[in-house]
């Protein structure tokens, strides 16, 4: 297996544990998950153009390897006892890898009553504690603090669970990223901070976010290991993440993993990306993580062309089915917005919408 060069900021010997190489079945599963992310997003984009999506649509085209590879290092469970993850808009692959399903993803974008937030929240802002998926809010950096606290709880109770938080190059400029990661470092929380360096935060290039040569160098300031890896090499992402996860699980605390990748679409569907040089897009299109991985699977004879075609077709079918199912489901009733503001206090309906309007009823 080809190894990517990595550099550690820490001399901690325990930080470089040997990670078992993924099996052939695991490699094919990674390939399937990358296809599933891409196919589901493509289907979502179509739904958006047809007017079915009420908010923005964010693509992770080109970042599927980073998302799937890193998440693949986690222990996924569906009974609330596994590792936990908090993700962002371009982590579709990570969500699916950790047990999320295309139907939940699509229901959310389509604001269906059946969605995990009952149509209240946008995009990927959904939580499924059974699967260890914790949805973000839009304020970047907040989830780093939240994940620090989740993993701190694991440490307090002596559980061997690990948490992974995803953030981008732009998000790493926030104060909350700093406060959260510093907390995790000081408290030796079993947390892996994944920074997805994808070139742009909306229209602002990474060089306008930071003077750091590599985002991984930020780890030095927190006294934790930092590693930078080729984010378009799914296996390299998996191996680096597995090292960080093993460190965390063994009680050696938090670490930072930078995955260097590229956002091949605009920030959202409305963004024409005219601030990006075309040759840059061409360069990264030639480094597509699915193409690169499939070439390797074939050249190393880990998979046959037929197998790969089946994987891709299966992913497309699953995405289609999920879209059809979600589309057929209803939007929530308006008045359900009043539910669950508090666990124990019921809020009144607007008096003007009562059968016999009377302002005393407020």
């Amino acid at each position: 297996m080809i190894r990517v060069t990595t550099t550690m900021c820490s001399s901690d010997a325990s930080a470089t544990q040997v990670t078992p190489e993924p099996s052939r079945a695991q490699l094919l599963e990674m390939c399937r998950l990358m296809h599933l992310a891409r196919a589901t997003e493509e289907r979502l984009e179509l739904l958006f153009r047809q007017g079915h999506v009420h908010g923005g649509v964010y693509r992770s085209l080109g970042q599927e390897g980073a998302a799937v590879g890193t998440a693949f290092a986690l222990r996924a469970r569906s009974d609330g006892t596994g590792d936990v993850m908090t993700y962002l808009i371009r982590d579709t692959g990570a969500i699916f890898t950790h047990g999320g399903e295309p139907i939940d993803y699509l229901r959310h974008y389509l604001a269906r009553a059946t969605s995990l937030s009952r149509g209240r929240e946008t995009g990927v802002h959904f939580t499924d504690f059974d699967r260890g998926l914790v949805g973000p809010i839009s304020h970047l950096g907040t989830m780093v603090e939240v994940m620090a606290g989740m993993t701190w709880a694991f440490r307090l109770r002596g559980e061997d669970r690990v948490g992974m938080a995803y953030l981008g190059d732009g998000g790493s400029s926030t104060g909350e990223f700093h406060e959260g990661l510093n907390f995790a470092a000081v408290q030796e929380c079993p947390m892996v901070m994944v920074l997805e360096a994808n070139g742009y935060a909306f229209s602002t290039p990474t060089r306008k976010q930071t003077r750091a040569k590599r985002l991984a160098d930020k780890a030095v300031g927190y006294g934790i290991p930092g590693e930078s890896v080729d984010g378009n090499d799914v296996v390299a992402c998996y191996e680096a993440a597995a090292r960080a996860v093993a460190r965390a699980r063994a009680g050696h605390g938090a670490s930072l993993l930078e995955v260097v990748t590229y956002r091949r679409r605009g920030h959202a569907q409305h963004d024409a990306q005219d601030y990006v040089p075309p040759e840059e897009l061409e360069h990264w299109a030639s480094r597509d993580p699915i193409d690169l991985f499939e070439q390797r699977l074939l050249s190393e004879e880990w998979a046959t062309p037929d197998e790969l075609e089946d994987v891709a077709a299966g992913a497309r079918t699953e995405a289609e089915r999920a879209a059809d199912e979600a589309l057929a489901e209803p939007l929530p009733e308006g008045a359900t917005a009043l539910d669950r503001i508090y666990t124990d206090v019921t809020l009144p309906r607007p008096w003007t919408r009562l059968a016999r309007p009377d302002p005393h009823d407020v």
């Binding site: 929240e121 914790v134 304020h139 780093v144 603090e145 606290g149 993993t151 508090y342 666990t343």
Partner: protein, 340 residues
């Protein structure tokens, strides 16, 4: 684990306890009863908190459940939210409640919306000293309630007596919703407030106002330290003017006990709202509107208010005294209202 700290056992010994010790008792008892309750904040552990409220807690409960955080209000409040997701019931101390503004995002956007977004209950208490009068300037003396009053999903509690402080901190810790718990620092060691509390377990329900004193002529709605200034004013009004004034202590600001206010106003037909917080966007405005909706027909006079002035909190004693509502202000307003 060491024996319990001296200041959390006054009630068990049948001794009168002050405001700070009452909160410490409530916190201590809840931590004894429920190992999911953890305490975090700046200097709460080894030092025992800037006001020594949690002195001895770390030695008793251990460094895992009582720990000092980096100076990072957003960071440790967000971490408390994460810990709550995983089944803990964190109590966060803001060393001075003024600093909660550094955690405004995580409080309003994350904690307050968690249940509604489908991310589950959020049993986190954020407690700490508030209030002016200690000559501590603009950044160690704020009232923070109205910065959060507009946020659905939060509860805001602001007790005025040791009994309410203990009963409400216990209720707040048992609550599955995020609670901001304001403690006026001038009440902490005020010897006049010391009272004997029940030796057995008790809570004071969140969301219920308390009638401090019944009266026929006028209703004063207030909370926190102003409850005691209002009581002083009412003594004078009774002696000098023969007025019979009702005082209502809100105790919880969010959710607001509107019905208690409306019920009182329906009997007295006059309402004065008194708060230490500044005037514009203060809670008097919301109470006035609620009474307008519910009890307009019963009012015999405009609703009046006595509040701090709309400035940052000044340092010089002369300036701070001018900033704060005084007993004389309350007397003046009540006389005007009674004569209307």
């Amino acid at each position: 684990m060491t024996s319990e700290p001296e200041h959390v056992s006054g009630s068990a010994r049948g001794e009168p306890v002050g405001f700070l010790d009452a909160i410490a008792e409530g916190l201590f008892e809840e931590m004894e009863d429920d190992e999911r309750v953890v305490l975090l904040g700046e200097d709460v552990g080894v030092y025992g908190g800037a006001f020594k409220l949690t002195a001895g807690f770390r030695a008793h409960f251990g460094a895992g459940r009582v720990f000092d955080t980096p100076i990072s209000e957003a960071g440790f409040t967000g971490a408390a939210a994460g810990a709550a997701h995983m089944g803990l019931r964190p109590v966060v101390e803001m060393q001075f409640m003024d600093f909660i503004s550094s955690a405004y995002n995580v409080v309003t956007n994350y904690l307050a919306t968690s249940l509604w977004r489908g991310s589950g209950p959020m049993p986190v208490v954020i407690r700490g000293p508030v209030g002016a009068g200690a000559r501590s300037g603009a950044f160690h003396a704020q009232s923070v309630e109205m910065a959060f009053f507009h946020t659905p999903g939060l509860k805001i509690v602001y007790p005025s007596t040791p009994r309410d402080a203990k009963g409400l901190i216990k209720a707040a810790i048992r609550d599955d919703n995020p609670v901001i718990f304001e403690e006026h620092k001038l009440l902490y060691r005020d010897p006049k407030l010391r009272e004997v509390l029940p030796s057995e377990d008790f809570v004071v329900p969140i969301g219920k106002a308390r009638t401090v004193r019944e009266g026929r002529d006028l209703t004063m709605v207030t909370y926190g330290r102003m409850v005691h200034l209002a009581a002083e004013a009412v003594e004078r009004l009774e002696e000098e003017d023969g007025l019979d004034v009702e005082i209502l202590d809100l105790r919880t600001l969010l959710p607001l006990d509107v019905e208690a206010v409306a019920e009182s106003v329906r009997r007295t037909s006059r309402l004065l709202v008194v708060h230490e917080d500044t005037r514009t966007g203060g809670i008097a405005g919301e109470i006035s509107m609620r009474v307008n909706e519910r009890a307009f027909e019963w009012l015999d006079a405009p609703i009046a208010r006595v509040t701090a002035i709309d400035t940052p909190i000044p340092y010089a004693p002369t300036l701070e005294d001018y900033f704060l509502p005084q007993v004389d202000d309350i007397v003046t307003a009540a006389r005007w209202l009674a004569a209307y």
